[in-house]
């Protein structure tokens, strides 16, 4: 048995049977990180001392047999976008280098409270802006399946850390596909919950009406377990929902007999990578054979989603990132002649090219004379995209699509052309705009050995249906059992 290849639920079972201790599991992961992360570069910060201390506490909890949860003693990684008390949090930006938060994000507090062991903080595109981790101010993470390729992004470090067996599971965030697209590129499970399902408190803001935290795991059961651990109302985030948190693992084995799966014609287009298309088409057949009904549907405003996203998300980002001014935390440029000059020089030196580009676009679309033509227009079309889904739910229970139009691309292939990079998110963005949940499940490999992802979208707060469909698919195929060899 290779400890670091186990899923959360498999690890927890061995911990409960006292066949392993959390300290042993944690040491195995730290050793694995030491052995492979020099090549994968998934972590910005590894916290071995904190991890071992948490593992000892978890072992004590398990020994007493009190207050043991499905993640007690299980080692996880978390994206470096979540504030962690006493541990550097950078959002992969020079402007936050050295920032040590005095508090934990609510999701971090919940994971710690449940007894999870946090191994460290994973790499990402700066401020979650990107689809490859190439926008990290520090380094690019490599795809464990092919080290000359990107892991996807922005939660690329999290996806790679799971695929490289450097943790049992990871916590990412998704604003336009940043959990699902890297999950697809790295052959892991990635779940973006409904907007409001999970608290955003202490998660560094990019686009507040779209951002959502979620699990990146080795299988569907783990995604259900982690969602249960982080979901729920938080008084510190007024957009978090009151909706009760069900036991997401309860219905996993229920099967999909009679489930109506919508297949939107706008997501199966000419020009898509032929191997991705073949893998997803084969996956739909598997779902049909498992008892689901495939229903042709239309989401007519799909072609406008990327445009809406790059206006709405950048406008929100330009406001959210105004707080980085060299006063309260992070770096300050040394040679500011006066206050305004200090702000400008700090922000020019502290932000990377993509972040500045998006701040510029967002500031422009909100500026006097352009607001109606850009930001307001985009917000109206966002309503039309949401209505497309409302209409679709009349004839289907979930919707299945490819997660991304291509498998993981080569490092450097798209960096010179921002617009082409934006189109990597073409199939994931609508889900954030409509606030609905979505999952990416591994659905095979290209002839070159690169993972392909199947995306399943669901009704608001119906994560259970996504998980049930993904679970039925997983049982029939077993792609999730494949591990990258490093």
């Amino acid at each position: 048995m290779n400890i670091t290849e186990l899923a959360i639920h498999e690890t927890a079972e061995l911990l409960a049977k006292k066949e392993l201790t959390s300290v042993q599991v944690t040491e195995a992961y730290l050793k694995r990180i030491g052995a492979v992360d020099g090549r994968v570069n998934a972590f910005i910060t590894v916290t071995p001392d904190e991890a071992i201390a948490a593992a000892k506490e978890a072992d004590e909890r398990i020994r007493r047999g009190a207050d043991v949860t499905p993640i007690t003693g299980v080692p996880l990684s978390v994206k470096d976008i979540f504030c962690t008390r006493g541990v550097q949090t950078t959002c992969a930006s020079r402007i936050l280098k050295g920032f040590v938060p005095p508090f934990d994000a609510t999701v971090i507090r919940r994971l710690k409270h449940a007894g999870a062991v946090i191994l460290g903080k994973t790499n990402m595109d700066e401020f979650a802006m990107g689809s490859s981790t190439e926008n990290s101010a520090f380094f690019t993470t490599k795809n464990p399946w092919a080290l000359d390729r990107v892991p996807g992004g922005s939660s690329g470090g999290s996806a790679a850390s799971v695929a490289a067996s450097e943790c049992a599971a990871s916590l990412g965030t998704d604003t336009g596909g940043s959990i699902r697209q890297p999950a697809s590129c790295c052959g892991v499970m990635g779940l973006k919950p409904t907007y409001g399902r999970v608290s955003r408190y202490g998660m560094i803001a990019f686009a507040s009406s779209l951002d959502q935290a979620g699990p990146m795991t080795k299988d569907v059961r783990d995604a259900a377990i982690m969602l249960g651990a982080i979901a729920g109302r938080d008084p510190l985030d007024s957009t978090s929902a009151d909706a009760p948190v069900p036991d997401y693992t309860a219905g996993l084995d229920g099967g999909i007999k009679g489930m109506r799966i919508g297949i939107p014609k706008e997501y199966f287009i000419e020009g898509m990578d032929s191997e991705v298309s073949a893998a997803v088409t084969a996956a739909l057949e598997v779902l049909k054979d498992a008892g689901a009904t495939l229903v042709p549907i239309s989401l007519p405003h799909t072609a406008y989603a990327v445009s809406v996203y790059y206006l709405v998300a950048t406008a929100e980002a330009s406001s959210n990132l105004a707080r980085y001014d060299g006063v309260k935390y992070g770096m300050r440029a040394a040679d500011g002649a006066n206050l305004i000059d200090m702000y400008k020089k700090t922000r020019d030196a502290g932000f990377g090219a993509e972040v500045k580009r998006r701040i510029m676009l967002g500031t422009y679309s909100l500026s006097a004379g352009y607001y109606d033509a850009y930001y307001k227009k985009a917000s109206q079309v966002r309503s039309l995209i949401t209505r497309d889904f409302d209409e679709a739910w009349k004839s289907c229970d979930v919707i299945a699509t490819p997660t991304a139009p291509t498998p993981a691309f080569k490092i450097g292939e798209k960096v010179s052309d921002p617009l082409t990079m934006y189109l990597s998110d073409i199939f994931t963005i609508s889900c954030n705009l409509a606030g609905i949940p979505g999952i990416s499940a591994p659905c095979g490999f290209t002839s070159g050995g690169l993972p392909v992802g199947l995306q399943i979208l669901g009704k608001p707060f119906d994560e259970a249906a996504l998980l049930r469909a993904a679970s039925a698919y997983e049982r029939e195929t077993g792609w999730h059992k494949k591990r990258a060899s490093l």
Binding site: D242, S318, Y329, M331, A337, R357
Partner: protein, 95 residues
């Protein structure tokens, strides 16, 4: 929609970014291309369509105005690049 370099400089001023000449040049071309792409939205008639997002969950935004577990002054300023007597220190603002 074609942006001129002076438009980019104006936006940089609003966004408090001291762009180099080279950056301003580069962003002028890239933003023009992106704005050209989003021009697609003007194909749609959105007369009378309510903008989304504005009032998301707004009904839950109200709460009692109560303090709870404040961080200490020491903790609050610990990450600041310049501090004096427990306050954030900035370059001179008033002549």
């Amino acid at each position: 929609m074609t942006l001129a370099k002076k438009d980019v400089s104006r936006v940089a001023e609003l966004a408090r970014l001291a762009l180099t000449d080279e950056e301003a040049e580069q962003y002028t071309g890239q933003l023009t291309r992106i704005l050209g792409y989003v021009e697609k939205l003007s194909e749609l008639d959105t007369a009378g369509v309510e903008p989304a997002g504005a009032a998301l969950n707004a009904q839950r935004a109200l709460r009692e105005d109560k303090t709870h577990d404040p961080v200490s002054n020491e903790e609050a300023v610990r990450n600041a690049p310049s501090v004096e007597r427990g306050c954030f220190k900035v370059p001179q603002v008033i002549e």
